[in-house]
């Protein structure tokens, strides 16, 4: 599937169409508990909210609209019925319309980035966005895979860990600054492209009451994985989920010799 847009000056065009991914995750402040049968973590009755990196992605899309770089911003969430609340938050922040790909509860726990990226790729075929912005990773599984997989499936360029997105010098591409281990890397990507948001891309806005009320009237379309023709067969089996080991006490050493001696004792150094 190839989607080529008219490479006219981005400033003159009617703006990019942006698709933003939002995932409903356990709220970061909740004390996560492992289920007694060790098959996963307790999610029932637990507070959920939008993945913080996705909030940043939504904010970026809204800002690009305000800067007239983007003409339309669409939010998409793959998840249970309650994902609609997450989408309403996105709409209240300024997104134009939302798409909910509803996953039946039985398949929810086994959903992996490979499935989500395939669902998103199918939606991209019909929606034809110029830019897909996803959070770089979800705070529940920390996978950091969906964006990259999506780009590969679509054969689009990707710019991950974005801390800044702006038009390139000739306005025909996007210039993305990425946060990498060595520092910052700036690359130009042609659209359509997939970008994943990092922490310092922006600071998300508060949804004001008038926008919360307007959000109710914005369209929210529902889709199913069957309609999109994507097979959700799990590729992995979770054997067990356990608490991290209790942190053991450390020991203080007086000198470098002591340190080397202790490391030798523990067989960590020859």
């Amino acid at each position: 599937y190839i989607h080529i847009i008219n490479k006219a000056d981005m400033a003159a065009s009617k703006g990019l169409k942006i698709l933003v991914g939002c995932k409903r995750v356990i709220d970061y402040a909740v004390k996560v508990r492992v289920k007694p049968d060790r098959s996963g973590v307790v999610t029932e009755g637990v507070k959920h909210s939008m993945n913080p990196f996705d909030e940043i992605a939504v904010e970026e899309a809204v800002r690009m609209k305000e800067k007239k770089l983007a003409g339309e911003a669409v939010a998409i969430s793959v998840g249970p019925p309650q994902s609609q609340e997450t989408l309403r938050t996105a709409l209240a922040m300024g997104i134009d319309r939302a798409i909910h790909v509803e996953i039946p509860l039985a398949q929810l726990e086994k959903l992996q980035p490979i499935h989500v990226s395939k669902l998103l790729a199918k939606v991209c075929e019909s929606e034809k966005p110029d830019l897909v912005i996803l959070g770089k990773q979800a705070i529940d599984d920390d996978c950091n895979q969906t964006g990259q997989m999506l780009a590969a499936l679509l054969d689009w360029p990707q710019a991950t860990f974005a801390s800044k997105i702006e038009p390139s010098q000739d306005s025909k591409q996007l210039r993305v600054t990425r946060e990498v281990d060595g520092g910052m890397e700036t690359i130009d990507v042609s659209v359509p492209a997939v970008v994943t948001s990092d922490l310092r891309l922006n600071e998300p806005r508060y949804a004001t009451l008038p926008n919360i009320m307007k959000a109710k009237k914005k369209p929210l379309a529902k889709m199913s994985p069957d309609q999109l023709g994507v097979d959700l067969q799990p590729r992995q089996e979770v054997i067990s989920v356990e608490d991290p080991p209790v942190r053991k006490a450390g020991a203080k050493v007086e000198s470098v010799e002591d340190l080397v001696g202790k490391l030798r004792e523990k067989g960590l150094v020859k």
């Binding site: 913080p52 209240a92 946060e179």
Partner: protein, 438 residues
């Protein structure tokens, strides 16, 4: 008496809340970039959850609570302790602007003046979450957005609304309302401030007002004065006075037990000239503006003690489950379970009462009996819950590093301001008498 610090001190202190962005930073790669300290959205594990299903809130109202909670916990809660200690909210102008941007200063004001055109229940939710973060600033907020702004919305002429509402709602101006005097509190209609009509139609105000919230900072004040002293209650008129009027001054900021940071002042009117077009409502008809305003004020302000009760539960319940004694967390001992149960029931029943009355008011039914009842109940319950919170925290409840003491000092105000508990009981009792009058 020996105070023993719990091991997890930093987790219960209001000044050390973890944030979403700090949390995310730990996840990501370590970078040498320093984070702008204002760019943190604060959450915490220290919150006792609110079950909005119980109160029949709409989806929008639930989202509204979430937004205000996030905003106030980030912008206000970390400063609450300092504001109380210094008896001053230095960033009030900046905070007012932020509130203005979110539309919070004119929740019930019409959209044409920049307001949200929303309901009293929406306003109560905002007041409650702000009070949970910092009761003192919430009191100032209530005085501005309800006592001043809402009175202008209800009684102002179009010209007065156009002149005052936009800047009050944007946060550029701070508003206040002045009725009480040094010798007229509960008996407010016995006020002695005079408003003498001049030959050119203007009025000259002479007298002083006392216990005026936002008095030291206000740009616009709704003032009640006697245009016809011999007519008693029926000789009061409502005026809109601007700060820079010659003869007007705030003679002092009061040093209070609680609500420190909500600047309260004595206002002196020494020959203050007010043009005729600054009369609000009917001449000599101010008592109706005053009394009906008081009903709505009591209703809206009752969300203040609700927020305090919620904060008491937030602080005390978490503490009870961290603090250990005799081999287990103290929250598992029956006497503390009992206290927590009482705190919970006061909070929840108070909320039900407040929200019900706000809904009735939104439908157009204003009942003085319930407006008084709601704040009477919530205020006394808040004081009791704050006392319970101190007790649960034990020795730590007695130290000012912990918020429990401030909650008590702040809660007590609500038994006094906007009509003392005694006056509220009179209002309700007389209303009941009226029902049986033959």
């Amino acid at each position: 008496m020996q105070f023993i610090r719990p091991v997890l001190h930093s987790q219960v202190c209001t000044s050390a809340r973890p944030s979403a962005r700090q949390f995310l930073q730990k996840l990501g790669k370590s970078c040498s970039f320093s984070l702008n300290s204002s760019s943190t959205r604060l959450y915490s594990t220290e919150f006792f959850p609110i079950n909005d299903e119980l109160y029949g809130l709409t989806d929008e109202q639930k989202q509204l609570r979430q937004t205000i909670f996030q905003f106030c916990q980030k912008e206000l809660a970390p400063k609450a302790q300092q504001i109380d200690a210094e008896n001053d909210f230095k960033d009030i102008k900046k905070f007012w602007r932020q509130c203005g941007e979110l539309g919070l200063l004119g929740v019930t004001a019409p959209t044409e003046y920049g307001g949200l055109g929303a309901s009293y229940l929406d306003h109560a939710i905002v007041m409650e979450e702000m009070s949970r973060a910092c009761a003192a600033v919430a009191l100032s907020y209530g005085a501005h957005s309800n006592l001043c702004v809402n009175q202008i919305v209800r009684h102002g002429t179009d010209e007065q609304k156009s002149r005052y509402l936009p800047k009050l709602i944007s946060g550029e101006w701070i508003g206040a309302l002045a009725m009480s005097e040094p010798n007229a509190g509960s008996d407010v209609v016995s006020m002695t401030m005079r408003a003498d009509k001049q030959s050119d139609g203007s009025y000259v105000l002479n007298g002083s007002k006392f216990w005026i919230t936002n008095g030291p900072d206000a740009d616009v004040i709704v003032v009640y004065a006697k245009t016809k002293p011999e007519a008693g209650a029926h000789g009061i008129t409502t005026f809109l006075v601007e700060r820079d009027s010659p003869g007007f001054s705030c003679s002092r900021k009061l040093d209070k037990l609680g609500m420190r940071g909500s600047n309260t002042g004595e206002l002196v009117f020494d020959g203050v000239r007010v043009p005729a077009d600054r009369v609000m409502g009917r001449l000599d008809g101010g008592v109706y503006v005053l009394m009906s305003g008081l009903d709505i004020e009591r209703l809206l302000l009752s969300a203040g003690p609700l927020g305090i009760m919620q904060a008491a539960c937030d602080t005390a319940f978490q503490y009870a489950h961290i603090r250990k004694a005799f081999g287990q967390s103290i929250g598992q001992f029956q006497l503390l379970q009992g206290k927590m149960a009482d705190m919970y029931c006061r909070l929840t029943s108070g909320r039900c009462y407040v929200y019900s009355v706000t809904r009735a008011l939104a439908q157009g039914s204003r009942q003085p009996m319930d407006c008084a009842g709601v704040i009477l109940k919530c205020a006394e319950d808040a004081t009791q819950s704050a006392l319970d919170a101190i007790q649960i925290l034990g020795g730590n409840g007695y130290i000012n590093e912990y918020p429990a003491g401030r909650l008590l000092r702040d809660a007590k105000l609500y038994e006094i301001g906007a009509g003392t508990s005694e006056v509220r009981r009179l209002v309700i009792g007389r209303a009941i008498n009226n029902i049986y009058k033959s």
